[in-house]
Amino acid sequence: MSALLAILRRDLSLLLPGGKRGGTMLPLLFFLAVAMLFPFAVGPDPKLLARTGGGVIWVAALLAAILPLDRLFAPDLEQGFFDQWALRGIAEEAVVAVRVLAHWLSFGPMLMLAALPAAALLGLEGPALRTVELGLLAGTPGLAAIGVIIAALTVTLRGGGAALSGLLLIPLAVPILVFGAGALSIGGGSGIALAGAISLLLVAIAPFAGGAAIRAAREG
């Protein structure tokens, strides 16, 4: 247990903004840039913005979650960290589970915070903003889990790995997007609840899928 805490501390110091695994503020800035550019692109019609703004926030959140994927596992595998953990009897599954948490902490809460200025830019108010925030809370853990699974699966790919993992993530993220963003148009909690349910399922699968992928990568 203390070993896993040490791993979590290391993961957070690498992945949180200001951490060393490069450009960790980038997803946040990317997210805000999309929210800022959208009104310029579609014109300053408050009704149109208010109707589409929530969906834009969701798409921006999904794309922002892709950015750090290529740095999630590759450096640790190359530098032999996973070998050393395996020798100490720490299962890949446990390391991956810790990383899902660290990855989510590195972008989830910040995106929810950044959704406030983004909502202002897009003219979302009161209940719509609340639905977006709750939806992000329910959906981003699932996005983190998908990201971790994809990053583990593509860990041995060099060069084009980042772009490919982005492409692989998008179809898997569609259910979360459908229910998370869909909650906006029906204005109810059922969409959020379903997004949360999908998130829970993905978070439960991620350690096993990711752990198996890391082991396969090591054998290669």
Binding site: S2, A3, A6, I7, R10, L14, K20, E78, Q79, G80, F81, D83, Q84, A86, L87, R88, R218, E219
Partner: protein
Amino acid sequence: MEPCRLVATDLACRRGDRLLFRGLSLALDAGQALQVSGPNGMGKSSLIRILAGLLAPYAGTVAAQGAIGLLDERPALDEHLPLGKALAFWRNMDGAGEPSQQLGLDRLWHVPVRYLSTGQRKRAALARLTDQAAPIWLLDEPLNGLDLGAVAQCEALVAAHCAAGGIALIASHQPFALPALTTLDLAEFTQ
């Protein structure tokens, strides 16, 4: 040191469509050291990884009693961290106290790992290995990049480890000075 034993029976290793070696058996008891020699590409590193349980053998079994420490070309230290902190991560994980072996590293304690030379990295990895206090040491080319003084230090470390009842398996094509070192030529096990 806890009792340890390392037994491999009838190992075969296949990489791609090449059978690197087959019919390899070895048994090491507490205090014994074995050098695996052979030209490049013969499967020395693969043998080490099979013994460590990190690679599945094509055939055969490995039974290890006691924790295994691995030293290879990857030090598993965070590149951006000062050496002291990077080593502290593993000491914390292994429940080790103060750094047991300085290996001439104390001057480098505040230097980020990415600025270290090949030999200094190797010494840092040796420090990580000694801190781990595992009875079975698997060393893949431990002398690569080390200067003469560090080679002697490394040999002394391994000798002390074996004298204390540990097992050492050294994969290297370089001579390794160690009392009672047996050798195993991997070339004998190619088909």
